[in-house]
């Protein structure tokens, strides 16, 4: 490879001619397993790139095409054949858009595998905000963070769309985080890293709203965990009878959502799917 992509993180680089694309937002120190865990179970011989949303998601009000274009431009420039598109959780929305672009580029719909796919929602965006603000409670007091959380909760009830909500939440986050940073003596570099990550994440979630993923999901393989409140399980619980058949194929694994990407059997199954397409 001539140069490293800037909007993708290279997880493995075993095949110079092709690439598997993974869509996820992996910069939050989360409990869920990540694609860096997953590639260990895919076997050798593949090149896997993972989205770096921070590189593209700078503001909540950019058009989704702008994100997707930056990603697919780099894929096109690499000259590699896309063997599969993967998506985790809300990343499945972007996986849908990327898969559509790859279909246009390569003239055929790529193998698309989605792990507990979820659409971004006001509630899920709020929970992320709630959690991030809650972490500051020991520093600036729960009354203070609770006040911001309440304001965020109301914003969520009032906001017309996710971009609007993301803007609201960012403003609230910034105000409360500044107090926390001051108290903890966090330096400028770390401040901007934290604030940018928060902004990128909210933007990533907000922009996903612009994408209608269902048609692509309907042509994809979905891996569903055993966690009732995640992925298609959650969708079906919220809308009984409406989403019985979302995917072209659905594989269920008796593992928790947080463990999906670290389960060897799932890696083996996905590797087999990729091989079969080759």
């Amino acid at each position: 490879m001539s140069h490293a992509p800037s909007t993708w993180n290279v997880l493995t680089d075993d095949d110079p001619t092709s690439v598997v694309l993974a869509c996820d937002f992996d910069a939050t120190g989360r409990a869920e397993a990540r694609f860096t865990d997953f590639v260990a179970h895919l076997g050798t011989g593949l090149t896997v790139w993972e989205t770096v949303p921070q590189a593209v998601a700078t503001r909540p009000d950019l058009p989704a095409e702008a994100y997707v274009k930056q990603w697919t431009d780099e894929v096109r420039a690499s000259g590699r054949r896309v063997r599969a598109v993967l998506g985790f959780c809300a990343g499945s929305v972007y996986a849908a858009a990327v898969a559509r672009e790859i279909e246009a580029l390569q003239g055929g719909f790529p193998l698309t595998v989605l792990f507990d796919p979820e659409r971004a929602s006001a509630a899920s965006m709020y929970w992320q905000f709630h959690k991030a603000v809650g972490q500051m409670a020991p520093t600036i007091g729960a009354a203070e963070t609770g006040f911001a959380q309440d304001a965020g909760q109301r914003a969520q009830e009032d906001s017309g769309d996710l971009a609007d909500l993301a803007r609201h939440l960012l403003v609230l986050y910034h105000a409360v985080a500044t107090k926390a940073f001051d108290k903890l003596g966090i330096d400028a570099a770390r401040r901007s890293e934290l604030t940018e990550t928060a902004g990128a994440f909210l933007s990533y979630l907000a922009t996903a709203e612009q994408i209608e993923p269902m048609p692509v999901w309907g042509r994809s393989t979905v891996i569903t965990s055993a966690t009732p409140t995640s992925g298609l399980n959650a969708l079906r619980a919220l809308h009984p009878g409406r989403y019985d058949e979302v995917a072209a194929e659905e594989l269920r694994f008796d593992v928790a959502h947080v463990d999906l990407l670290r389960t060897p059997a799932i890696g083996t199954a996905v590797a087999a799917l990729i091989r079969d397409r080759a």
């Binding site: 993180n9 860096t36 509630a123 009354a143 919220l238």
Partner: protein
Amino acid sequence: MLTTPALPVDGPAPALVAANRKEQALWLLEQLVPDSAVNNLSVVFSAEGPLGEWEIQQALDALLRRHDILRTVFYGTAAGLVKQTVPAERFTVAVDGQETGQDEVAQRIDAVVREPFAFDGRPLVRAAHLQAPDGDVVCVVVHHIVFDAISSAILLQEFIEAYEAASAGLGTPESLLEVQPALRPAPYEEQSLAYWREHLKGFDPRALGLSCGTQDVPEPTLTGDYVLHTLSDKAHDAVRRLQRELRAPEAVVLLAAYYLLLARHGAGPDLVVGSPVSVRGPQAPRAIGYHVNTLPLRAYVDLAAGFRDLTARAREAFFGAMTHTDVPVDALLPEIEHTGATWRNTVFRHLFNYVPDAGPEHFEIDGTGARRLLIENGHSKFDLEFFFFSSPQEIRIRGVFYTEVLGRRDAELLVERYDALLTALGADPDRPMGEVSVHSAMDTAVIGRANATGRAVLPGGLPRDLADSVTAAPHAPAVVTGDRTSSYGQLWAAALADRDLLAAAGVTRGSVVALAGRRGPELAAAVLGTWLTGAAYVALDPDHPARRTAYLLEDSGATAVLAAPGIDIEAAPGVPVLGMARADGVTAVPSDDDLAAAPAPDDTAFLIYTSGSTGLPKGTVITHRGIANVIAHFAGELRAAPADTTLWLTTFTFDISSVELFVPLVTGGRVAVAPDTARTDGAALHTLLLRHDVGILQATPTTWRTIVDAAADRLAGVRGLTGGEPLPPALARRITAAGCELRNAYAPSETTVYSTCGVVPDATARVDIGVPVSNTVAFVVDEAGRELPIGVRGELCVAGHGVAAGYHRRPELTAERFTDHPVHGRHYRTGDLACWRPDGTLELHGRVDRQVKVRGNRIELGEVEAVLLEHPDAARTAVVVDDAPSGPALVAFLVPADGAEPHGLADRLWQHARAALPSAAVPQEYLTVDAFPTTVSQKTDHLALTRLAAQRRQERAGTTAGAEDSDELVAGLVGLWRELLQRNDVGATSNFFAHGGHSLLAAQLAQLVESRFGTTLRMVDLYNDATPHGTAARIRAAQHRTPATETAPQSAPAPATDPQGAAR
């Protein structure tokens, strides 16, 4: 199914939003008791006739259309609770019509009200229409998350309106057509927050527990029950008088009295009670929904001050709260220190709920008379909640209580005492509150009855009683030892011989004689002979070390020793050692002369030595009045008769032994002497019981275990007595199951052998210590010496005939433990925790000085031991507090039961304790020993065990210290991890984020790594590998690329190529 959910099947789904924090908190509480009705509220009324099915449905539909909140549904998700408001046209709740028999109505209502709701998108409203012969009942049940008490009044009123319109053939009334959007909590004011912060500053919620009821259970059930009470006219008058005199509104007077009630039951004195208030605001007074904030009202109860003072404090708390109602208490909780070891997340455990105008109980619906029914959901979220329904005519209290913590009787007594307190306070609001009696009429009656123990005791004392037995049957067998039988007359003759010997040696009235002998007729005669000189005895154990014997001789001031043949006693010069007279020779019959020097009631009968806090035994001076009283009592209680044989089994240095000797002798019965080995040799015991046909048997619980193991078949009809140590219920059940008529008795030595006694019922789950014996008054006091009512734990005090003269030559200690009471007179403070039970018996709860505080939790070590002892694998248990540097820890020592599998024993005990005790009271460690170290008086030496626990801990630390990481860099990083995460269970491979780390802490971590190790660490690096090990590798990789001008790469960390060189 009661309701039919009708969720959208087409069209856009209504917006799904995260629930607010108050809703979250309610949902989280419900997670503690899943599938329960803990948050179910209801509007239930019964009509005097039938109601229309169609009309009821119409009325309900109108309300569901009108109130958005009633159409709001919730989903519990992994992230949290989300909700959506379903449009009216897609939301129906079908009224469930049920025809029912009249006698089933109450049960059906309960079933409807107690059916749980689910957070899965189904409606949180259900309705039922019960059609019964005497009239219909309508139940509307709504989850608290969309409802509250004020909502129910609004709903009922609107329901009636809508029903009547439907019944008249009209549509929904104009007034109910306008849709009410859900009212949202307003942001709270900074000023309010500041008020509450100040109000709760420094408050410690751990002092809120009451001294009555039971310990909280580890897994909350929140099961509730309630009692009803209407304030007596006297109490209601007092409330009115106090309102006028103290210039306080009724609510404040009632609140202040509630504080006092709690304080007098052991809570506080710094108290917070919760009080729910509506936060609807003037704009939406009629909004249905969850619009209450439960405000934490704090007041300090100074029992030295009058009620006027407390009322002023309550008034300040009350009005301060009313002007700052906007802050939900959950907002402040994390700022208040609490134990963390409990499910309770609030600063209060007791609720004060004042409903000034409860609305009419009776009303009409469409011309039919109807009555509102208050139906409980069977739960209580608080230990105790007093709801006051006040009207000018009466004040009704509904006392709801958490059944795991308080019993129904506790709750009944609490409301009755509240009534009594108010009455007393009304009479004199300036009297110090600590002086006001908290007893209800029942408390006074039950305790009074238990203490009505006055009986006439003949003044002659035991020597006279024994003389009477001898005179009545001089040739009857008195003491049987193996094949040897001594008659009453032989015993008397030997006693006279001993008397003469002692008198010749200078023993007179007031002297102390040391008796050294094993149980047998000679020892019995020696006791009697000593008494006939007017002297007292002190018993020496022939098996005790010489040093102890020498100490006892010296401390008691014994002027002579009477020793049995073969027993060698070294006495100080001038103290003659005399031989006991044999009791199998001549016979004598008592004459008046024999009793010439016999003692008076206040004379000393014997000294009993027990362990002292200084490590040296202390002697207690027991009077003839005391010993005669207890022997007379047990002679009656055990129905001892001349035909009975009593086994003399207990060592004579233990005072309870005198029951085995004197009860038979004063009743003309027979004493069968058991050798010492019989206490541990089951077969020998069995033989003795069979051979002597023993009818009366006393032993400590330890010995009873041997008895029931070896001789259960000999216990039918036996009158058993046990004492000296707590009787485990499991053992009690085994003994009674064998057909033994068992009595459990109690007393410290200082109140003479036994002060209380009670029959142990068959299959008992717990063991009490019965009621005071004859001429004995027991009372339970708090720390300030105030008498406590039924069910409230405090120190047990004993007054009456048995109270010893004091400690021998220890005036300070005597003054400290033997004190005067204005009513009960001279008494002994036992140091035992006890409470009265509603049946007038006393129950022990361990030692006052064994109540410890571990991480702020009050723990009674004796109770922990009792729980552990219930496990079949534990024969004996002792729990101590080990003051480890990491904080105090409970350590349980165990002597395993015979046959207990040693493997996994600690784990089994831990599981058992965890299931029965609050987590703070569960010992962290379980150490098995063959036997417990004991004090001189054969009691478990807890101090020695505490030292042993510390020693074991240090040994363990010594073996693990080498396990620390030898890599300095990794060790330094582990230190950082520990510092930031504030936990010590973190090692080289511990993930920062899996151990409580989050992004903000990660930023600090990155910064600290940079400052300490000179390497720039980006947070994204941490996200990729958040272990000390991985971070060390990254630091080394960066340092290897000197000069380190670039940040580390974003991909996986480079391997450490030169770990030794890189370590700094």
